[in-house]
Symmetry: C2
Subunit: 192 residues, 2 copies
DNA sequence: GTCTATAGGATGATAGAC
DNA sequence: GTCTATCATCCTATAGAC
């Protein structure tokens, strides 16, 4: 296996610590100690703590943007698109759960420029999702309820999947996807 | 109107700031400044920053425990109990959204004793919810899917309601409850 | 690429005057 | 109950030796 670059190693170690304690509760000394070096040495590979945060969050945000763009270009039903989005979230959560945690909890600590960029990406993502739901209602695939409630219910679950996945981790991703799709599409009530 | 005690005022101001920036990004000086006094003066009313955090989180956690205990004692169907839980979350979110944010994001910064107490309360709360779902499946009110997926889907949405409520705030609580109950109970698909 | 040393500032908290 | 003054500690980041 090729050895990771030192910079990537910093990002990985920091992601793990940020997930556990949050950005502000983790010091450069903590990150360095976990790597077995001194804090000053970190600055040979990165410009500062802010760069670590930006890299973690914007990388994950970009994966969501790319995934959503792909879904939007498909010519499938709204229901199928929503299934693809659920799949997208499960995939990213499995592979980047630390980044997901940091994105959710510490985006407000990004510097001005990166925070604005992040918020823009998030808003566009949500707007795409909203359009899919509205189209589904229009096409009579989705029940005519307040689109915001549908959007929020699904998105809040998907966003915090990382909390759940680490606990019940070994559940197969395909089973998780299947059950979650069914809960959201068909609800939980029997005999309806 | 009766003037709030100085201590309660500190808790309220801190809640708001913790919600916006997180526990570790808010200094005693920030809290004091918001109140128009000096940081040193805070210590006449509280023992320290940790006490503020514990008070905020354990107060909200207690409300959830009390509410869940009430639901558990009812002799109603599982579906009706779940509706009551959704109602409980919406009520607490509306009245204590700052505390909900801090409970969600900063519980890991509680001191050892209070953190253990919080985790215990949370686990008992989740276990009660799990029992309701399992009973519902047994009674054939709820579809026989993995109870953990149902539990997590509903709970993750309810836990982050505060994020949504502040944005779309003016939506009436009763409409929100009605729509959310329908999304979870019957899903979003039309003609199923 | 890592180290030691240190600058420069913020932090939680205390002592004691008023 | 609030203030000023201050302590001891921690923080991010830099300079310069090796």
């Amino acid at each position: 296996m090729k050895t990771r670059s030192r910079k990537k190693e910093i990002i990985d170690v920091a992601s793990q610590l940020f997930k556990e304690k949050g950005y502000n509760a983790v010091s450069m000394r903590d990150i360095a100690q976990e790597m077995g070096i001194k804090a000053a040495s970190l600055y040979n590979h990165i410009t500062g703590k802010q760069e670590i945060l930006s890299t973690i969050i914007l990388d994950v945000a970009q994966k969501f943007t790319n995934g959503m763009n792909k879904v939007m270009m498909e010519k499938s039903s709204s229901i199928l698109k929503i299934q693809k989005i659920i799949e997208l979230h499960i995939g990213i959560t499995i592979n980047y759960s630390e980044g997901m945690a940091t994105l959710n909890n510490d985006w407000m600590h990004l510097n001005d420029t990166d925070r604005k960029e992040f918020i823009k990406m998030r808003e566009e993502y949500e707007e795409s999702f909203r359009q899919i739901i509205k189209q589904g209602i229009k096409d009579q695939e989705i029940q005519a309820r307040h689109p915001e409630v549908i959007l929020f219910s699904i998105l809040s679950t998907l966003r915090t999947l990382y909390l759940w996945y680490q606990k019940r981790g070994k559940l197969d991703a395909n089973i998780l996807k299947k059950d979650m799709v069914e809960v959201f599409l068909n609800g939980i009530v029997k005999n309806n």
